[in-house]
Symmetry: C2
Subunit: 329 residues, 2 copies
DNA sequence: TATATTTATGCAAAGGTTTGCGGAACTGTT
DNA sequence: AACAGTTCCGCAAACCTTTGCATAAATATA
């Protein structure tokens, strides 16, 4: 089926292309009657402007890139969901790419983004991304970069983050308030910025109190989290509280506790940083500090719009992270 | 920063645009030495072809659309993950849009897809989509449509599906084999094609057996599933098995069973159709028939490529759906 | 040496849209 | 009747790439 273009409609109506174009945009130069005719034929023929021509002409692509380790994991999916919503509302097209946590693929994805002339880019770094050179090229090209979740170290980047320190502090304080003395903290990959921040905050919060024993463990998957938990809870004296850094870790931890028939909170308390979906499906429901991918997405998008508007000074901003009380403390 | 174009490189090298273009594509007309010079400068300047110009010129967009009720839910996220992988491998750009189960937004999304001149479109219908007219326009325009999961009724569409009948049958048979007599089947929205198919298969499977009691319930969320389950399990005589049509339902059902401290499988058995992620995190692990979004995505993509290759006769194809045994029967 | 062939490159058009500028055709003013 | 001011519309260029065709230079053939 032939594509409907301005040219085609111009022919049909006996007008010039420019007149048709202006009529569709309600340009004041065009008479009301002509506008009416043009709009009618456009509706009748289901005219849709060719976005490639528009982009080419305007040298601006209303496309935003989004690079994420994987789509199908808690947090990222809700982040993406928020970004998609906003893109749709703001007439942006969203180009989603997965890195699979592979820095090589990540570089490739950046190339795809440049080919697609993205106007801006959301990035959650792969675990081992350390060389920021490929990202810096975007900055040089004045393409805004907004990092989220796994963000780079340096000062010169836009970062939209969970308030890691605050959230971890809140969680640990809640445990201390319940007089817990022997804590197990299960954290994610050491090299992640979020892991470092959360760990640091935990240590700092503990340090002001006396007589608290804490075990710090790192893991890369729910399976590892499960195994670690089993080790600790197969002993005679078990921790009286567990801090889970993420949903993925919570899953592993809970699996172990359930298998070992550890009663929550009678034998041990559980608190997690979580997107909020999972904790409600355990019994008892798990108390958690919300780390909402959806909220983070909304925030990241606002920051992106600001960047696109010219506010390019890199900033670091945070979502709120309220506590939701379950029955697990 | 100025954009690097063929023209720019041609100026730098003192060549014509066409020569540069051909050199980059290793056209035999161009001398080896010229090719070398061109490739070098292209690499040096980080040249990336302008995809809009290419698309405009070729009248073909390597863009695939994907419309889904929501990204952040089991099954869809893994479906999307599979599609993204394949798009990346095959040099397609993926345009993901959420309908929020709203037929109005769905129509809008179709319009966005047409603006973006998608070459093909994956669709999971919104709950209440009944008017296929907007979709049929794509068929008229020879833009392949591949429906998945929630598919339309008629014959004339490509459908990539879970083998609903087979999977439901397998699940129910497993329950019957364990001598279960009083079944609760919790299903999703009545108007979904998948619900109808699964229900029909359940009834048929039961009908050949004598003395089986079955309760059919429909719901639209895990909350509803939870409430329904509570009703059934607060009575004196409780069902001795539950069939959960999806992960979302499984979540609600399990929440109720856990709250009521119903022992699985001692007091009641549980079986589900599931993407496979959740069942492993319950204790005991839930036996499930796999309905893999990831596999479905891979299959859908293959079908899409075939369509784009000209094999346009609409077909209905199915993934496999093996059973994974947990301890819940 | 004159002609035919090969090799290497350039010209120009097309794809669809936007927009500055110019220009008819009118309306209204002296 | 001569002029200025409106109103409405069209021309053409630009955005970047690809590609059929033409052309110039170099080589081979007679």
């Amino acid at each position: 089926m032939e594509n409907i273009t301005l040219k085609r409609m111009a022919e049909v109506l006996g007008l010039s292309i420019s007149t048709v174009s202006r009529a569709l945009k309600n340009h004041p130069d065009i008479s009301a009657s002509t506008k009416k005719r043009v709009h009618e034929i456009a509706a009748f023929l289901d005219y849709e402007p060719n976005i490639n021509a528009i982009n080419l002409r305007s040298k601006k692509n209303r496309v935003l890139g989004l690079i994420v380790p994987t789509i199908s994991i808690f947090f990222y999916d809700s982040f993406i969901s928020a970004i998609e919503e906003e893109c749709r509302k703001n007439d942006y097209t969203l180009l989603i790419l997965q890195s699979g946590n592979d820095p090589g693929i990540e570089i490739n994805n950046l190339s795809i983004c440049r080919q697609n002339r993205v106007s801006g880019l959301f990035v959650c770094l792969a675990t081992n991304s350390v060389n920021m050179k490929a990202f810096d090229k975007f900055k040089e090209a004045d393409i805004p970069l907004v990092f989220f979740d796994k963000v780079p170290l340096g000062k010169g980047y836009n970062k939209v983050c969970i308030p890691d320190e605050k959230a971890a502090k809140l969680a640990v304080e809640s445990l201390l308030k319940k007089n817990k003395k022997k804590l197990l903290a299960v954290l994610g990959n050491k090299s992640h910025s979020i892991t470092r921040k959360r760990l640091q905050s935990i240590k700092k919060t503990i340090s002001s109190k006396k007589g608290i024993e804490i075990f710090i463990e790192h893991c890369n998957s729910h399976t590892e989290a499960k195994n670690i938990t089993r080790q600790y809870f197969s002993k005679k004296t078990i921790p009286d509280a567990i801090f889970c850094m993420s949903d993925e870790i919570l899953i592993g931890v809970m699996k172990s506790l359930n298998e070992l028939k550890i009663e929550i909170p009678a034998q041990t308390s559980v608190i997690a940083l979580s997107d909020g979906f999972l904790p409600k499906f355990y019994t008892p429901e798990i108390t958690y500090i919300e780390t909402s991918g959806y909220k983070l997405g909304k925030l990241a998008f606002i920051r992106m719009l600001n960047c696109l508007d010219g506010k390019v000074e890199p900033v670091e901003i945070f979502t709120d992270s309220p506590m939701f009380k379950g029955e697990s403390l």
